[in-house]
Symmetry: C2
Subunit: 245 residues, 2 copies
């Protein structure tokens, strides 16, 4: 058996997200599995580093699959390039140790939430940036974000329904990258809960708009109540940037 | 009468081009005229700096219109933002001298043709870059482009049907901007003929692929025969970047 690791980028606009669902093909995992299964003439199961929600994009999703066919990674890339829709690409592939598991071995992830803070939105970025036309106080947003660094219970910042699963995660880094009217907020951590990056960014935007104080973020974190945090902002600004192993 | 100058950006993917056509609305000019006419309750005629073809984008299209209504430029921007589709924006407006004419007064233009030269295309740029997966010899392309600088008869590089109109134009500058696997070729000149930037770039790509020699471009220019030049490459890589006044 060969174990093959893939680097995947996708524009999530047209999809229900990463994870294959029952009988619909409109997921990233489903699309790639279909192409690989067709190529290798066996049923391929793709293991992703984690799910991304409907409408969320990825520049550096990682996945692996096992196959009994002696296929070359280069052929996998080329076949995928030919048969996948143009909004999904497998841009790298390599043979890895048979023990490599894209989800279990992932040590951390980087997500980037992209904001267009111009008064009028940039037409070419409209599908990849959330448009906030009002001025944002970035210094206050940075201050607010500092309370989130470290290991915390992020229950206030997730739409996870289950109360049984742990909501403790570690955020190691939050960076703000400003370029003209564009603001990218980069999050690095050991894992992120359902909707967590979008709710955190939605909360930071509330701070930037002066609807909340930076210190409120500390209070929200401590209270562990989802309704206190900001809105779950749209998926189209969110990118899975990198998975760390 | 007020004369109002607009700065316009658009994603041309869904449109037949700038110029209003008979009874179809699917043009940039048509879309904006409809919104302005509705706002000002009079028939507005928009004068663009020039046409762009179907599928071509603009970051800095300039247009002007005259109105008897005492409207503020700020209101024009806001109304357009509200009523235009999200792939067209009027990002600036100001009152100008009544003699200003967006087409007649244009002294020159800058166009940028965007290429994605990665082996696998970038999914987020797929609508804004022409994908050339084979390696391009940029130095040869630069050499080839140098023969086009200055005043020349560009008949070989246009699909203009009429033999009566002058095909003499001046290109003042051609710049190559490389960023990782992306190549932007910027053209500045006093005017560009029908399909000229796309045919020139198509020819430079032939040189970059070693299907032509840099010196061939000089010969093609001198022979004034369209079939000698390279292909008219797709519109989705082309941007009207700036209009000079």
């Amino acid at each position: 058996m060969q174990n093959i690791k893939l680097m995947i980028a996708y524009d999530g606009s047209r999809y229900y997200g990463w994870q294959r669902l029952g009988n619909t093909e409109q997921t990233i995992q489903g699309k790639i599995e279909n192409v690989l299964s067709k190529m290798l003439k066996e049923n391929i199961e793709l293991i992703g580093s984690g799910r991304t929600d409907g409408g969320v994009h990825a520049r550096g999703q990682v996945a692996n699959f096992k196959t009994s066919v002696a296929v070359s990674p280069q052929d996998v890339i080329q076949y995928c390039h030919y048969y996948l829709p143009s909004d999904i690409t497998v841009y790298d592939a390599k043979i890895v140790d048979e023990k490599f598991h894209a989800r279990y071995n992932a040590k951390g992830k980087q997500y980037i939430y992209q904001i267009d803070n111009g008064i009028i939105h940039n037409v070419f970025e409209r599908k990849y940036r959330y448009h906030v036309p009002q001025p944002l106080d970035i210094d206050k947003m940075k201050k607010a974000s500092s309370y989130l660094i470290g290991e915390h219970d992020f229950r206030s910042f997730t739409n996870l329904k289950s109360k049984k699963k742990s909501t403790i995660r570690t955020i190691s880094k939050i960076d703000f990258i400003q370029n003209d009217t564009f603001i990218d907020i980069s999050f690095e951590g050991n894992g992120f809960l359902y909707n967590m990056v979008r709710i955190i960014t939605g909360t930071l935007i509330e701070v930037g708009l002066n609807n909340m104080l930076p210190e409120d973020v500390k209070t929200i974190l401590n209270k562990k109540e989802r309704p206190l945090a900001g809105p779950n902002i749209p998926p189209h600004g969110l990118f899975l940037q990198k998975v760390f192993y």
